[in-house]
Symmetry: C2
Subunit: 226 residues, 2 copies
């Protein structure tokens, strides 16, 4: 019984996600569904990425948060369109909540729409939002066993950002353990070792995301924001 209910919820989510994906393909908008544990660095990654690519691409952000607009407040200074979805206790975004807020964006003038999902390594993975791809962020402070223990996200994501590598000297994190677990789950997934506070590895991340957006929005990219 519970399985059937869950399947109905997921089916309805999938139908709406397909609609969104069709619309974004038509509008040549790349939507990136960013998933991580609480505090892995999603918002700081968006801050760095807006600083580095905000002049080259037109960026929009959907902020999924349980109850506050704190992450959105941090991004206000970049003068980009931002919409907050408060889930009121809900543990993930779904395609219906995304669909309801898409009208707030001028999609003809957006190249990349980042969705910062609720901080949760599990539930958001199950709900397709109509994104171009999922992005996994994990912090070294969480330990090197996360791909092995929470494999779903690492199986589905298009890339993994290992953040806070500046903390490795102060923890027992072993990159070879992390990498070995990750490769068992997803042998070819790109892995970027970064520090959003110190800047390590971000150039490679920017290069990769630019390649992705160019492949999605090739008729539209490179238009300077007005």
């Amino acid at each position: 019984m519970e399985i059937k209910i869950m399947k109905n919820i997921l089916d309805r989510n999938q139908n709406k996600a397909d609609e969104i994906r069709n619309l974004l393909t038509l509008k040549k908008v790349m939507m990136v569904n960013i998933i991580s544990s609480p505090g892995a660095g999603k918002t700081t990654l968006l801050e760095r990425t807006c600083e580095a690519l905000g002049a080259k691409f037109r960026i929009g952000v959907i902020e999924g948060d349980i109850t506050t607009d704190r992450d959105a407040q941090r991004l206000k200074k970049y003068n980009i369109p931002i919409v907050v979805i408060n889930t009121e206790g809900g543990c993930h975004l779904d395609s219906h909540s995304i669909s309801k807020v898409l009208d707030n964006f001028d999609l003809d003038n957006i190249d990349i729409l980042f969705v910062e999902n609720v901080g949760n390594l599990i539930c958001p993975t199950q709900f397709d939002l109509g994104e171009s791809f999922k992005l996994a962020i994990v912090s070294t402070a969480e330990g090197d066993d996360k791909p092995g223990k929470y494999p779903m996200l690492f199986r589905e994501a298009a890339a993994v950002l290992l953040n806070k590598i500046d903390l490795i000297p102060y923890t027992n994190f072993k990159i070879r353990n992390f990498n070995s677990d990750l490769r068992k789950i997803n042998s070819h997934i790109p892995l970027f070792e970064i520090s959003c506070t110190r800047g390590d590895g971000l150039a490679e991340w920017y290069k990769w995301i630019v390649e992705q957006v160019n492949s999605v929005t090739h008729f539209k990219h490179g238009v300077p924001r007005s």
Copy 2:
């Protein structure tokens, strides 16, 4: 419709949780439901606590994990009863899964039953397991905004362990911000600032947990494990 379904699930969970609570009260077992994000230090806290209190109290552990038994393997060396519940992708434990494994424990010879919930700051908070109380763990590396952004757990927990305080010098974590948010949500909750790897603050934690178990199991505690 979805709200009704959710309510039925929660009602059934509550009924079973009440049964468990009655049984554990009868058996004078204190059950502690440990909730945190992935990698905040739940298993390391259990390692330290088994080392410090394993001779004084009879400890049992239920390990909630999505797919592996890695955390249980780390605790094997303490020679305590451990049962693993693999949720197969599920984002939380519920009272039915706890009820099914309780038969594996000799409850007459257990003082403290620690339940390490699935690493998730959101969903586990909604499901009463029949525990004596919930314990919140949060790592400084997650940032000082977690009580504000994920208030549910901090509202319900009996105590908060702020772990990895040894990392504070290498992050932008401000204890006054954390504390100020926490006090708005739960003004009197005990807060322990600890480092499970370095040992800071653990003596206060042991003292507190001993007080709790003494109040629950006062006819039974202090019996050395055979």
